[in-house]
């Protein structure tokens, strides 16, 4: 079963490689840069930045705030990354008012405000529960 899966996977990879290889002369350099660039950007920029931020910020927060802030940061951070192309409106065409036709920055601010509000509510709720269930609430 595993061997069969492995063979199927390798065959699909080989076919993909062949499709890309056929376009070698035209596109190779640029597609290689984009393929490698994504890994470099994640493994050596985004991931270390997230780790360093977490190490710097989380220990400085009060106990009750740590989990809500982490949840808020994961949600808002990943959704913001997805929104980069629309926030920058890089693909907008001046003659076409029907695409990229929202006020994305305001949209982001609303989402950020909702996230902050939800995190704040979570902190208040956790704090109010604290005296009653101290040992449960504080050991996530």
């Amino acid at each position: 079963m595993r061997v069969a899966l492995g063979i199927v996977g390798l065959a699909a990879m080989a076919y993909g490689g062949l499709l890309l290889f056929r376009r070698l002369s035209v596109d190779l350099l640029d597609s290689a840069v984009w393929l490698g660039g994504g890994v470099v950007a994640h493994d050596f920029v985004l991931a270390p930045v997230v780790i360093v931020l977490a190490v710097l910020v989380i220990p400085r927060l009060p106990d009750v705030a740590r989990a809500p802030v982490t949840v808020g940061a994961i949600v808002l951070g990943s959704v913001t990354l997805i929104a980069v192309p629309v926030l920058g409106r890089f693909g907008a065409s001046p003659g076409n008012p029907t695409l990229l036709d929202r006020d994305y920055v305001t949209g982001w601010l609303v989402l950020a405000a909702l996230t902050v509000a939800a995190v704040a509510v979570a902190i208040v709720v956790r704090r109010s529960r604290r005296p009653v269930a101290k040992h449960h609430a504080d050991t996530p």
Binding site: M1, R2, V3, L5, G6, V8, G9, A11, A12, M13, A14, Y15, G16, G17, L20, R23, V26, D27, D30, S31, W34, G36, G38, V39, A41, H42, D43, A47, V50, R66, A67, T70, I74, V75, S78, V79, L81, I82, A83, P85, V86, L87, G88, R89, F90, G91, S93, G95, N96, T98, L99, L100, D101, R102, G107, W108, V110, L111, T139, P140
Partner: protein
């Protein structure tokens, strides 16, 4: 400060566990499978030749598959980010240098992981950028996204094959089990494992809700990052304007003539001639390859009626040419089943008004279940092949 490369053992959070990675991996795998299959559908719908004819029904089929394609890709972004976070220490595993056989196996597995990660990030981000028509590269998006899709799905299947025993074990047990954890990964974190999983699902859900309104009308108000509000002339957005397509406006006005050709038979029609033919109204979507879609109420001449006028028998493919001079989609082929379908119109009006110039005035093709890019606008010649 002593700076050195981190080692696998430096990562001590108990969240970085195969029990977590496998649970996120399942959903990531489902998203990639949806993207791959719907991508194959889209690729086939645009293929220059089709051994099995692409169906004309349901008319909203392509709208759904392409909407799913982009939505599953968006949902996969938070999943991929958290998945990579849980397995990040593996990047710093020291290779078993002494043992040549093991080294070769480890190198092969690492290479397949490198291909998987590179292809996955490439697919999600180029796809996301393409959905906003942002092309900061020189390669052809469609053929490269297609080639890398096979790399990604192949590497994913290899990865599943390699990890199958761990995946099975991890999914069979509780999320807090530590059987497959690295010995250092014991430190409590601010979130529980369940908490991290719920946060990941929440991030994916928010990502979908804030973008999918470009194809799901119900979500328009909450999709603050949707690529279109869905507004446009006649309630349908425009992907490529007349100016962008290089349309000479004077050729769309009074002097405009549509030519319909079948062998030696050739007929020409002004827009008034077309308006004088029997008119039909169909509700059909424009479903863009970039993922947005909108439904329109189109009125015009049945393509089959025009073909009858030049005495073309049923079952013939039809070539459509446009006044368009820019971009690659100035011509398209309607396969015989599309040409003969009674819902396929040479549309003159949208939502009761004459087509806007940017929607293809004087006349355009609108057919059921067809990628928007092939719904040729500014049609000037129809030729039975």
């Amino acid at each position: 400060m002593n700076l050195r490369l981190p080692a696998e053992g430096d990562f001590t959070s108990r969240l970085r566990s195969p029990a977590v990675a496998a649970r996120i991996g399942i959903w990531l795998g489902i998203c990639f499978a949806i993207c791959f299959l719907t991508g194959l559908v889209s690729h086939y719908a645009q293929a220059p030749s089709q051994p099995v004819p692409f169906p004309t029904s349901p008319s909203w089929g392509y709208r759904v598959t392409q909407g799913l394609h982009v939505t599953a890709g968006v949902a996969a972004v938070p999943l991929l980010l958290v998945k990579l976070w849980t397995v990040y220490p593996r990047l710093f595993t020291r290779p078993p240098l002494g043992d040549v056989r093991r080294l070769a196996l480890v190198a092969a597995e690492r290479a397949s992981i490198a291909v998987l990660v590179a292809a996955a990030i490439f697919q999600l981000f180029t796809g996301l950028m393409n959905s906003t028509q942002w092309y900061p590269w020189s390669f052809s998006f469609r053929s490269t996204h297609y080639g890398v899709a096979w790399l990604a799905i192949g590497a994913l299947v290899v990865h599943i094959a390699v990890k199958l025993p761990v995946i099975r074990d991890a999914l069979g047990g509780d999320v807090d089990e530590t059987t497959h954890d690295r010995p250092e990964a014991t430190e409590e974190s601010v979130l529980s494992r369940r908490g991290l999983l719920r946060t990941t699902w929440l991030a994916s859900a928010v990502a979908v809700l804030t973008t999918a309104g470009a194809t799901v009308p119900l979500l328009r108000r909450v999709s603050v990052f949707g690529v279109t509000t869905g507004d446009g002339p006649g309630g349908v957005p425009i992907n490529r304007t007349a100016a962008e397509a290089g349309i000479a406006v004077e050729r769309t006005q009074e002097t405009f003539l549509l030519t319909v050709v079948h062998g030696g038979t050739e007929m020409t029609f002004s827009r008034e001639d077309l308006e004088a033919l029997p008119q039909h109204t169909e509700v059909l979507p424009i479903a863009c390859v970039e993922g947005w879609s909108a439904s329109g109420t189109w009125t015009g001449v049945r393509l089959r009626d025009l073909l009858d006028l030049v005495e073309a028998p049923p079952g013939r493919d039809v070539g459509i040419s446009s006044l368009q001079t820019q971009y690659a989609f100035g011509t398209s082929t309607l396969w015989d089943n599309f040409a003969d379908d009674p819902r396929t119109l040479l549309a003159l009006d949208l939502d009761g008004e004459p087509l806007a110039l940017d929607h293809g005035y004087p006349c355009r093709i609108i057919a059921p279940n067809r990628p928007g890019v092939r719904q040729t606008k500014w049609v000037e010649r129809i030729e039975v092949l």
